[in-house]
């Protein structure tokens, strides 16, 4: 009885404070209608900022619209932009540059991230401090990272060139990480790996900590070697988590723009011009709004597809 009156107390206070006119209106509504009343504004906001731009972009992708010529007649050209993009060898090359970036960043981040997680999972002296230190790059803004790596990559005064020069016994100014056609794709891969490996490490660490100790104890009883335990227990049980990290980083790197734009702006030439940079150039330098909308939709469908797989994997991990 007391518990009931306690729980009713604040509710009763709120009810008493509600103006009579509002109370009369609300009293006539069902629970479902009141629920819709509460979530309605959020739904409207989401539709306005998410769904409307998407539908507008789809509509623009079928037209010859250019944002710098708002008064020019807008013609419906059907699937012409899609046809042009999907048969353009230059766009295919940009997609290959994106694939090179996505593949190597994911490979390096997964290997290094898992190795770091395996190390941090062993309880050693000061492991909390080292974990925090490893996580720092992930917390920085991509704009900050892009700017300070530009300084680190300076041929004359950059620390990166100095260290590589010291170990490789070459003058630090003899190579330009951001200005060389061969080295610049690797320069952006190194920066992305440096920044996002801690994230992969965190996910792998969650996977490692979810493995119950009794499985290892049973393996010890069966005299399984450390290597056998790693191959037969650790790796298979961590695999859903690794898949999650790979998919998430794949989606993020497929859309990568800010850091690469700050580091190289797609150069030298178009060596590091990823799909998102091509999209920006088509939309805001060439002002081909309809064309860039079609390109954006092509990229969106790929990312949306990967996101579906990501959610499916996430549900599998949750079920475990």
């Amino acid at each position: 009885m007391n518990a009931r009156s306690d729980s009713e107390g604040p509710a009763r206070n709120v009810a008493n404070m509600t103006p009579d006119r509002v109370a009369r209106t609300v009293r006539g509504l069902s629970d479902k209608a009141i629920a819709w009343l509460f979530i309605g504004p959020t739904m409207l906001l989401l539709l306005a900022i998410n769904l409307f731009p998407l539908i507008w972009t789809i509509q623009l992708s079928f037209t010859n619209y250019r944002a710098n010529r708002p008064n020019a007649p807008i013609l419906n050209i059907g699937l012409d932009h899609y046809r042009a993009i999907l048969t353009d060898p230059d766009i295919w090359l940009r997609m290959q540059a994106t694939a090179h970036f996505v593949f190597w960043t994911i490979a390096l981040q997964t290997i290094i991230g898992f190795a770091l997680a395996y190390l941090v999972d062993r309880k050693f002296r000061g492991h909390g401090f080292w974990t925090t230190l490893i996580l720092v790059p992930m917390m920085l803004s991509p704009a900050v990272v892009g700017n300070f790596w530009t300084f680190l990559y300076q041929p004359q005064i950059g620390l990166f060139n100095y260290i590589v020069g010291f170990f490789a016994n070459v003058p630090p100014g003899s190579f330009k990480m951001l200005g060389d056609v061969t080295l610049s794709p690797w320069a952006i891969i190194i920066v992305d790996t440096w920044m996002w490996t801690p994230y992969v490490m965190l996910i792998c660490l969650a996977g490692l900590r979810s493995i119950p100790d009794y499985i290892y104890e049973a393996a010890e009883v069966d005299r399984a070697s450390n290597w056998r335990q790693f191959i037969s227990i650790t790796l298979p049980m961590c695999m859903p988590f690794i898949m999650l990290a790979v998919l998430f980083r794949g989606i993020e790197n497929f859309k990568m723009f800010d850091m690469v734009n700050l580091l190289t702006s797609g150069g030298p030439g178009s060596t590091t011009e990823l799909a998102s940079i091509t999209l920006k150039r088509a939309a805001f330098e060439a002002w081909r709004t309809g064309y860039s909308s079609a390109f954006a939709i092509i990229l969106f469908v790929a990312v949306f597809g990967l996101a579906n797989i990501y959610v499916k994997t996430l549900n599998k991990v949750k079920a475990r």
């Binding site: 899609y82 999907l86 048969t87 060898p89 295919w92 997609m95 290959q96 994106t98 694939a99 996505v102 092509i298 469908v301 790929a302 949306f304 597809g305 990967l306 579906n308 797989i309 499916k312």
Partner: protein
Amino acid sequence: MKSESPNPNIEPQSAWPKWLRRGQMENVATALIAAGVLMMLQPFMMVLFTYSFVTTLAGVVMFTIVSKFPE
């Protein structure tokens, strides 16, 4: 009157065709999406790149539809 199963843990048999179950169909859709993305990013054949968007789109549409199917 609705007849009740003697064991409540055993679910009644669904009339939904077995081959149209969500799990299997989602796997097919996932394979289509993965194939489409790989076709988009591969460096070997231009024709694969040309048809990558249609393949991915088919996978995405299929995934959206079959995720509403019964398990």
